[in-house]
Structure formats: structure tokens, C-alpha cells
């Protein structure tokens, strides 16, 4: 199974093209429903952080969901079953890297599904869709 991987955050220039790509996948502009975020490490002089789901094999977000709305994905990470989700936000709190985003309109989480669309628009080789077999990082 392929997953999106941060190859080298030090190469990130903060253009946020990945955030726009994630939203554009759905045919809209902006980034209300982006499952990836780029922010500075406390000011742009200090570099940038890429925040995105790293496809945990045993995802804490799924573990805390009271209604089993987060199905563990083959290859790691989760798939949201929106009809089950009650919008409690426990998943967001459980993710230690902050990779569970929130859609205020639907009041449901937004989590990377590892499609790799964003990586096609990263001109600086920060992120990539990689095939993983038995690797567990």
C-alpha cells in the first residue's frame, strides 16, 4: 500500500501548494478541507513543519473513536465513515502530531487518505507517495 510520506521537511519553502492541491482534488479553491498543513516553526526564519497523517499501523485516532467511524486503512492510517461520525473531536485530541484536521461546516474530521495528489504539486521534493511493504516508520 502506498502512503504519503514527508521526505525532507528542510526543503519546504512554505508555498502551501500541497494544501491547495488537497482542496482542489474536490474541485474547489482555498483550503477548508485540506488534510495537510504547513506552518512555520515559530517564525519563517526557523523553517517549516509539514503536518500530515503518517499512516499509523495502530492509529490512536481510531482507538478513541466511540462510534467506530474511523476504519483502519490497509497499510496504515484511517478511512472516515462520515455517516457514523458524531463530530465529538476525540480523534483530533488523540493525534499527537495534530494531523486530524477539522471541517467546521460538516463538523467532522479531515484526515489524509494517502492518495498522493498533493505530492504531484510539491516542486521541492518535500513530500512523496511511497510504496511501503514491511517498513514501519
Amino acid at each position: 500500500m502506498a502512503r504519503l510520506k514527508v521526505i525532507d521537511a528542510e526543503r519546504c519553502v512554505g508555498c502551501q501548494l500541497c494544501m491547495f492541491a488537497c482542496q482542489r482534488r474536490m474541485g474547489a479553491g482555498g483550503f477548508a478541507e485540506s488534510a495537510i498543513a504547513i506552518r512555520s516553526r515559530g517564525g519563517l526564519s526557523r523553517g517549516l513543519t509539514v503536518i500530515v497523517c503518517r499512516a499509523c499501523k495502530e492509529p490512536p485516532c481510531a482507538a478513541v473513536c466511540p462510534v467506530d467511524a474511523l476504519k483502519v486503512r490497509k497499510g496504515g492510517g484511517v478511512i472516515l465513515l462520515p455517516q457514523r461520525c458524531i463530530g465529538c473531536g476525540h480523534c483530533q485530541e488523540a493525534c499527537p502530531i495534530g494531523a486530524v484536521f477539522w471541517n467546521e461546516d460538516t463538523n467532522k474530521p479531515v484526515i489524509c487518505m494517502h492518495c498522493g495528489y498533493c505530492a504531484q504539486y510539491c516542486p521541492h521534493h518535500v513530500i512523496a507517495l511511497v510504496k511501503e511493504e514491511n517498513e514501519d516508520d
Binding site: R24, G27, A28, G30, F31, A37, S40, L44
Partner: protein, 584 residues
């Protein structure tokens, strides 16, 4: 426009009464697109004739455009105001995350009027606008105030923090507004207008999705534009070296203003070139939001503390061609570390680098010629290359301990009016000169451009690409006029000028239709003219005239790549430009 597009929302803020309200203005955006077009229309609505630029009635207007958040490199914010520096049109553009943040907060434009009785900063997140006490951060330098607000407020990664340094507070007429630490509303004194309103900073941000008319066409058009951007060779160069790649070519052409344009070629140019800086100092590259190029280059400067061995501080300092010219060659500074230190001072006090450098260059020559003495400078002895004295002078330009520094705080033209030396005060329409002594085109842009900025019509580029027989006053004026009209459209869409070759008229018309705007190529051409005239009408209304424009003698004395420049040519071309502004 698309009915639910938040672009049509204009946020009005009254600092005197601490009120805010939103008006839906689809009329403005449907007619003028956004950016420069909408801002100039709002300036006419909001700025009464004869307004004191530092009084409560002077509006601060920010406008973005429909392509922001939809397409790459449409990430500029246009600010308009009455300039405290020139007394007429104030217009300044900045990138960073400013435009995306304004659009994501749910606005197409913001109008700020009034004056607060105490220092404040504003936070704007969607419909929530808050006035915060800024008394504790008044007096802070731009980078420190950025840090304080960054740590105190929410929205990391999806916000913009625009702030002033100490120069804005003290109303230095060319004070700038800094955004995202390294981008600026640099020219014409927006920082002083902030300071006059006791507005220390604005933090703005949000998150939303933006509608398009056709999802499939949107994705296709995006991919096409994106591919073209990546394949444009000039943009690749801006990624590699940044705008500083221009230092050596311009120096070779003898077009790099040096020591107040006493020369146009700098013997130490290599040391302050993009190549040298990249090899020895480049520490990081950054991009504005939604831009794949990343032209922002930061030097990592390691400075030892003098009172303790093996103790260093490392500072990241952004450099660009214009800064290298104004704070390097123009001041005879060939030591890259010294130049970077000076850049850093300019950054944290928050002044326009061009105006600051050119004003200091005038000061140096005036001192050499005995027009001013240590009595005026309070003991400082400005001399070419002495960056430490320039740093000390900049600090005094902020604190203004005597009449001389008060004058320097109003720029080179103002100071030369009082102390003499107008022939070598390099200002055009009262605005200090950008770094191109390329020939007639460059200087004509400074003279006739509505902002007196090299970017208005890029005459420096025509100097380099036109054949000699094409260089007639009529032809050049016509070309610059067409270019300035076209650039009104680019800056109404708030597309970065670096991407202009990708965003030609047919492409613009197509992308606008995806955003819900119907403009034909012909409509766009007419609109460009209309916006330029609208800006010029404001200038005329506030007393500007093309008839009595001062042409600094120095540019006629120092040989350009096109030989010695003649005043007569300039006057003819200015007259043609003037008639083009009024004819149909």
C-alpha cells in the same frame, strides 16, 4: 461573480469608534476585478480631497482578487492610501501570506479609517474582528512584535501578521509595513499611516473553500498554468538566486547606480552579487503562499558577541536586488556582511529600503560637499562604505533628535529642499529612485509611473530589449503606457509580476471565467486604461502634475548604457505620456 464568493465582502473598520461592519459590494468587483482596480475605486470613495495623510480621514485600503486561493502566484495584496511621502497616490503591494489570508478570512477588501486613542492591534478571523490593547508592544521593533503576536494568537500557518516597526510609530514618511517577517508593503509610507492611527499590527486569517464555475475546467486550467510556471526559465532563475541575480548583469552594463549615482558601475559588485551571497550566506529559501518559485532568499549571518569568546548569534536576513542596490552599491558598501547588517537594521526599524538607502546616499554626498556638517549629523560622519555610521543614522532618523534628522525622516527631496543639493537628490515624483540607470526607459518609468516605482511600467526592461531606432520619445512613451495599463490588470488580479509572461490576456480571460467573471480580452485592455486613469485622477486631484516634474541633474550627468541622457527627450516623452492618459 459567483453568488456565494466571499470576495464581494468589504470589511470596514473605524478605529476611532471601534466599530466594524461588512458591506456586500459585488458592483466593485464586477467592474474592477479586485486589487488595484477595486482599491483605487475605494480610495476615491473614502479619501476626501486634501486629506491629511497622517490624519484620521486617510483610509488604509487592502484589496485582493478573484484568483487568490484558486491559482498559483495570485498572492499579492494591494494597499492604497494617500501617501505621506509624496502627498498623492500611495500604493504598495506585498505578498507573503497576506492575500490568501484576507481571502480565507472571507473578504475581498478591507477599509480602515479613524485613529485610535491608544496603540492597538487588530485580529480578524472570519466574522470576528477584535481590537486589542497594543500599549505593551508599542515601541517594539518589527520582528519582536511579530513574535509576540505569533505566540499570542491562533491560526498558525493560515494567517498573516502585518506590523510596523519603530519608524512607523514615529511617522517616518517612508516607513513600511512588514508581513511574514520578510515581505513588505515597502514604498510610499504605509507604515507611517499605520503609526498615525496608532495601529501597530493586523493579524488576519481563516480557512474556507472557494467555489468555481466548472470543477473539471478548473483543475485542467490549473495544471496548465502550473506547468507553464515551472517551465518558465526566468522563474527558475528567481528560484536559484532570487532577484539578486541581476546585480552582475546590470553592473556589467554600467547601469548599477553606485555612490549616489556618481558612477553606474561598482568595483565591489561581485562581493554583493546574488552568486556570492548564495555561496557564502544563503541559509534558506521561502515562498509566498501558493507560489512554487520561492524567490525569497535568506542569508544566515553569524555574528560574534564581542564581550565573550565563542558566543554567536545567527540572524536570517532577506535580500533582494533592490536592497543590494540601495543599501549596497548606492552607499559604496562592498562588504557583504556590513551590507547584511544594514539590511537587518532597515528591516527591524521598518523603513522602505529604497527610500532609506537613497536618502542616506544624498546625505553622504551633501556631507562631502559641505552642505551639511557634523552640527547637523550630531557628530556622525557619513562616508561611502561605512555601514556602521549608516546604521547609527537610521536609528536617529527614527528618534529624530534634531531638525536635520526630522528632515531625513521625510526623504531625500524634502531634505534637499532645505539643505540644498537637489541636483543629486535622486527622487522622482518625490519618491526615491529604484536601482536602474539603464537609460531613458528606466527613468521615464520612475517619472511617469503612477507609483514612481520601477514596477509600474518596467522601463528598465525596455531599455534592454528595444533596438536603438525604436527608442524615440513617442514610441517609448507608448510602450510604457501600454505596459502600465496591462499591469493594472495584473495587479487587479493580484498576480505577482514575475508570473506575467504566463498570465497573458487570453489566459486571464479564461481563468476569470472559471472564477465567475466574464471579461473579454478587449474588456481587459479597456479596463487597464480606466484603472490607470483612475489612479492618475487621484494624483492630479491631490496636486500632482506631469508638467513640472523634477528631473534630477545627476541622471543626465552619469553616462548610461544608452550614453548621456538628454532632458529634452524626457520632456517630450513625458508630454506624450500625459496625452495618452487623457486620449481615447
Amino acid at each position: 461573480m459567483i453568488e456565494r464568493d466571499p470576495l464581494q465582502r468589504v470589511l470596514y473598520i473605524d478605529l476611532s469608534k471601534r466599530r466594524f461592519w461588512v458591506k456586500y459590494r459585488p458592483d466593485l468587483f464586477e467592474k474592477y476585478i479586485g486589487g488595484a482596480g477595486v482599491a483605487s475605486a475605494l480610495l476615491h470613495e473614502e479619501c476626501p480631497k486634501g486629506t491629511d495623510p497622517l490624519g484620521p480621514d486617510n483610509p488604509i485600503i487592502f484589496a485582493v482578487g478573484p484568483l487568490v486561493g484558486l491559482f498559483p502566484m495570485a498572492s499579492k495584496t494591494v494597499a492604497m492610501f494617500k501617501s505621506p511621502h509624496t502627498g498623492n497616490l500611495g500604493e504598495s503591494h506585498a505578498g507573503g501570506r497576506s492575500a490568501v489570508s484576507i481571502r480565507m478570512a472571507g473578504y475581498g477588501a478591507i477599509v480602515i479609517k479613524g485613529t485610535s486613542n491608544i496603540p492597538i492591534y487588530l485580529s480578524i478571523f472570519n466574522d470576528k474582528v477584535q481590537f486589542h490593547d497594543a500599549r505593551a508592544i508599542w515601541g517594539m521593533r518589527s520582528h519582536v512584535v511579530g513574535r509576540v503576536i505569533r505566540e499570542r494568537e491562533k491560526g498558525t500557518g493560515i494567517r498573516s501578521i502585518m506590523r510596523i516597526g519603530t519608524a512607523g510609530e514615529k511617522k517616518v514618511s517612508y516607513a513600511c509595513v512588514v508581513t511574514e517577517t520578510y515581505r513588505h508593503f515597502g514604498r510610499l509610507g504605509l507604515g507611517a499611516v499605520f503609526g498615525s492611527k496608532k495601529l501597530k499590527a493586523i493579524i488576519i486569517g481563516g480557512k474556507r473553500s472557494l467555489p468555481v464555475t466548472d470543477k473539471k475546467r478548473y483543475k485542467e486550467a490549473y495544471d496548465e498554468v502550473f506547468k507553464r510556471i515551472l517551465e518558465t526559465p526566468s522563474l527558475k532563475k528567481y528560484h536559484d538566486l532570487g532577484t539578486s541575480l541581476n546585480v552582475l548583469p546590470l553592473n556589467k552594463k554600467k547601469a548599477l547606480p553606485t555612490r549616489n549615482l556618481e558612477q553606474a558601475c561598482f568595483e565591489h559588485a561581485e562581493k554583493i552579487s546574488g552568486e556570492h551571497l548564495a555561496q557564502h550566506f544563503l541559509g534558506r529559501r521561502l515562498a509566498c503562499a501558493h507560489c512554487p518559485i520561492a524567490c525569497i532568499h535568506l542569508a544566515a549571518l553569524r555574528t560574534p558577541y564581542e564581550d565573550e569568546p565563542y558566543f554567536y548569534k545567527t540572524t536570517f536576513i532577506s535580500y533582494d536586488y533592490e536592497l543590494i542596490y540601495a543599501l549596497g552599491s548606492m552607499l559604496g558598501i562592498g562588504d557583504p556582511e556590513g551590507m547584511l547588517h544594514l539590511l537587518d537594521t532597515v528591516e527591524y526599524i521598518g523603513v522602505d529600503a529604497l527610500s532609506a538607502g537613497v536618502t542616506l546616499a544624498w546625505t553622504t554626498e551633501a556631507y562631502e560637499r559641505g552642505l551639511i556638517s557634523e552640527k547637523e549629523t550630531l557628530g556622525l560622519k557619513p562616508s561611502w562604505g561605512d555601514y556602521k555610521t549608516y546604521q547609527a543614522m537610521l536609528e536617529r532618523i527614527v528618534t529624530q533628535p534634531n531638525d536635520f534628522y526630522k528632515a531625513l525622516a521625510k526623504g531625500a527631496e524634502y531634505a534637499a529642499e532645505i539643505y540644498g543639493g537637489k541636483d543629486f537628490a535622486l527622487t522622482f515624483g518625490k519618491n526615491e529612485m529604484p536601482g536602474y540607470h539603464t537609460g531613458y526607459g528606466g527613468h521615464l518609468t520612475f517619472l511617469t509611473g503612477a507609483r514612481h516605482s520601477h514596477l509600474d511600467s518596467a522601463g528598465y526592461s525596455y531599455d534592454q530589449k528595444l533596438r536603438p531606432e525604436e527608442l524615440t520619445p513617442e514610441n517609448l512613451a507608448q510602450k510604457l503606457f501600454n505596459e502600465e495599463c496591462y499591469r493594472q490588470i495584473i495587479s487587479s488580479l493580484v498576480i505577482c509580476f514575475f508570473a506575467r509572461s504566463v498570465y497573458d490576456y487570453p489566459t486571464i480571460a479564461r481563468l476569470l471565467s472559471i472564477a465567475g467573471f466574464e471579461f473579454s480580452e478587449e474588456d481587459l485592455k479597456l479596463l487597464g486604461k480606466r484603472i490607470l486613469r483612475q489612479k492618475y485622477n487621484f494624483k492630479y486631484r491631490e496636486g500632482f502634475s506631469l508638467d513640472n516634474l523634477r528631473i534630477p541633474k545627476r541622471i543626465l550627468e552619469t553616462i548610461s548604457p544608452h550614453g548621456q541622457l538628454k532632458e529634452d527627450f524626457f520632456r517630450k516623452a513625458i508630454a506624450v505620456y500625459k496625452s495618452l492618459l487623457t486620449s481615447d
